[in-house]
């Protein structure tokens, strides 16, 4: 089969990501991978919770003194919105509207970059306060948990940008549809993790 075959909106299948065997496999494999990621993040959360506020005797930092909600609120809003924009992108993919999809993915990327910038700002701020990676078990656990999420954001961004650029001139095919689809799944998953981060790390941290 010619994976580069051109489709029209009328001939474009309902689930372009799952038409080919490769697409089906990719779809399922990626979901399974997300199942594993769930356990991975659970381990990180568990460690964070066990080490929360633990440090050398007389440590001056704690979740209550450290975290600032306004920044986290903005970051949360940005990331949630980016989740919606990537839903839009998939909506356009289903409608075989390539430009629309690329555009909404572009917006997603911009939002993702904004989130990342704020996170870098936040980390930098903490380090300046003296709360650096080696400061305590708490700092290590915090930076590792939130940082691992941050790395996922970076990977997601690189992935989506690569897809946008690579396919800019080529339009839809059954070859790249599953790729777009899994990338968007990944992006949602990043948001899922963030929901727990802002709840468990920041909100519950401020509460104490």
């Amino acid at each position: 089969m010619d994976l580069n075959k051109k489709y029209t909106p009328q001939t474009w299948p309902d689930h372009p990501e799952q038409v080919t065997m490769e697409g089906k496999n990719k779809f399922l494999g990626f979901w399974l991978f997300l199942g594993g990621e769930t356990v991975l993040f659970a381990s990180l959360f568990a460690t964070y919770l066990a080490l929360k506020n633990k440090g050398p005797s007389g440590m001056e930092f704690s979740t209550q003194t450290l975290f600032e909600l306004p920044l986290v609120f903005i970051m949360t809003m940005i990331l949630l919105t980016s989740s919606l924009t990537s839903v839009y992108a998939m909506y356009h993919m289903k409608n075989h509207n390539f430009k629309g999809m690329q555009l909404w993915l572009g917006i997603t990327v911009v939002l993702g970059l904004a989130f990342l910038a704020l996170e870098i700002y936040e980390f930098n701020h903490y380090v300046h306060l003296g709360f650096n990676y080696s400061q305590s078990a708490f700092s290590s656990a915090f930076f590792t948990l939130v940082g691992t999420h941050g790395i996922h954001v970076v990977v997601g961004l690189v992935w989506i940008i690569l897809l946008i650029v690579r396919n800019a001139k080529r339009g839809f095919s059954l070859y790249n549809a599953p790729k777009y689809y899994t990338a968007s799944l990944y992006w949602h998953f990043i948001d899922v993790v963030w929901v727990f981060i802002f709840t468990v790390v920041y909100l519950m941290g401020v509460v104490g």
């Binding site: 496999n25 399922l28 594993g36 356990v39 381990s43 050398p56 080696s134 400061q135």
Partner: protein, 620 residues
Amino acid sequence: MSSIAQKKGFGATLWDYLTTVDHKKIAVMYLIAGGLFFVIGGIEAMLIRIQLAKPDNDFVSAGLFNEIITMHGTTMIFLAAMPILFGFMNAVMPLQIGARDVAFPFLNSLGFWLFLFGGIFLNLSWFMGGAPDAGWTSYASLSLASPGHGIDFYAIGLQIAGAGTYIGGINFLVTIINMRAPGMTYMRMPLMTWTTFVASALILFAFPPLTIGLFFLILDRMFGGNFFDHTMGGNTIIWEHLFWIFGHPEVYILILPAFGIFSEIFAIFARKRLFGYSSMVFATVLIGFLGFMVWAHHMFTVGLGPTANAIFAVATMAIAVPTGMKIFNWLLTIWGGSIKVTVPMLYALAFIPSFVAGGVTGVMQGAAPLDYQLHDSYFIVAHFHYVIVGGVVLAILAALHLYWPLMFNQMLSEKLGKWTFWFFFIGFHMTFFIQHFLGLMGMPRRVFTFGADQGWDLFNLISSVGAFFMAAGVIILVVNIIITAVKNVPVGNDPWEDGRTLEWAIPQPVPFYNFKQTPLVRGLDTFWIEKQEGNKEGMTYAEPLSDIHMPNNSFIPFMMTVGLFIAGFGALYNGEKEWAVPVLVLGLAITVASMAVRSVKDDHGFHIHKEDLMNEKGGK
């Protein structure tokens, strides 16, 4: 294509293997690499037994001994047993379900290379300043205190190899879920496929905690983290939990495929359908699930408190029930059958009493207050070698004989096979049975020597002698393999004559696309059904002959792995050598660049045309 491969020169063959994405070739590579690591781990075991043959021995020094046991345990579990089982899964499972290949051929190859280079990385520690010495469990307080780079090699090496295993697990899962031939419903899948499925699911969920644990260890040792440093608020028990949340499922990752192999063997050589198939499937899934609920039985003496100990003790005992179901189903399979004692069957028969003996000592350890006595004594060493050697290694040896004709179209000598068996079997019981008593008599494990006159001298000697019997068995096996390979007498398909599942129906040597036409599966043991109905071809087809789509070979998996391998050294020497960070970056760059090439360069695979398929008679 495979006939062409025979005539190729060495360089071309090498290149073929470096780039192959064919599950059958990857299986062979897993087997060879795993076999090599098995011999290395075995030699380490021999060194252990030589050192412990007599009291106050100074054959190896104290520090070296700890390196040897650590590497023995790590090598055997991660680099020998699991990869060899992966080899058999790769060789057999796609054929059993009637698939042309696995779901992700590219990732299959990547998984193999990651495992191999992770293993090489780990073993390079011997030559680069000392191997890891904190036990295969690498408990955090000791592994943080351990000087030199041994533990760094352990953490990074396992991280790389573990990534390979994880990828392999996902690949198998998707293959089984998506690629089954028409008619191959879940409840018609052969047990080998079922156990591959459940073991892969365990990999999916068990490896992430290990990844995280190793990640913490790497961060603590090389990048200034404080997860396990209690003066900085860290907690070493976190490592113990993460390790065992992985570690207990790991032992079922090892034993379930072994169960699968034996299920095949009992059915074939008793000429009888597997008794209680559906309860076997149920038990497999249940064991997998319960396997995640019991990890703290390795931590009874840590001081988690009586409530935790009681809960985990009872949960641990529960696993005996599904395992027992399996044992009795196997017994009832041979009951009323027609038992032919070939070499694979010999191993299967030896497995039952050996594994039951090992399993029941496991249940004894599950009784927490009793485990306060047994823990970290030689009783534990006896238990796990009974289940691992008496279960997993016997399965590996059995499968080697059983599937050799499938993989190489030639038969291992039955006569030498029996010699191997008897040496190994007798040696195994001699080595490990007596260790139960050593443990009860107060001998702790992981001791590099022991004082005379504590009542342990004789039993240790007996144990060491047993190990030599095992070594003799393994050497005979190697001889057998060499002789067989040199003779190279083709045997054709269904060499055991009573094959029941699809893999025995395929013509030999297996064409690289496996099935010319996708088969139609008409029931459990489909090949058996066809044979009973007098179908000479052994298969009914689900589709007319048409073009076959195949994936292209690729060198990228190898390159990605090499990148990580190089990056590993950068991480290892971080903060110590000036070149560390550049090397780390370079390695990662190679990996990322290879990935980028992969994603930018379209790879649509190729087609074998119908006409070509018809020309090559019998699919050769």
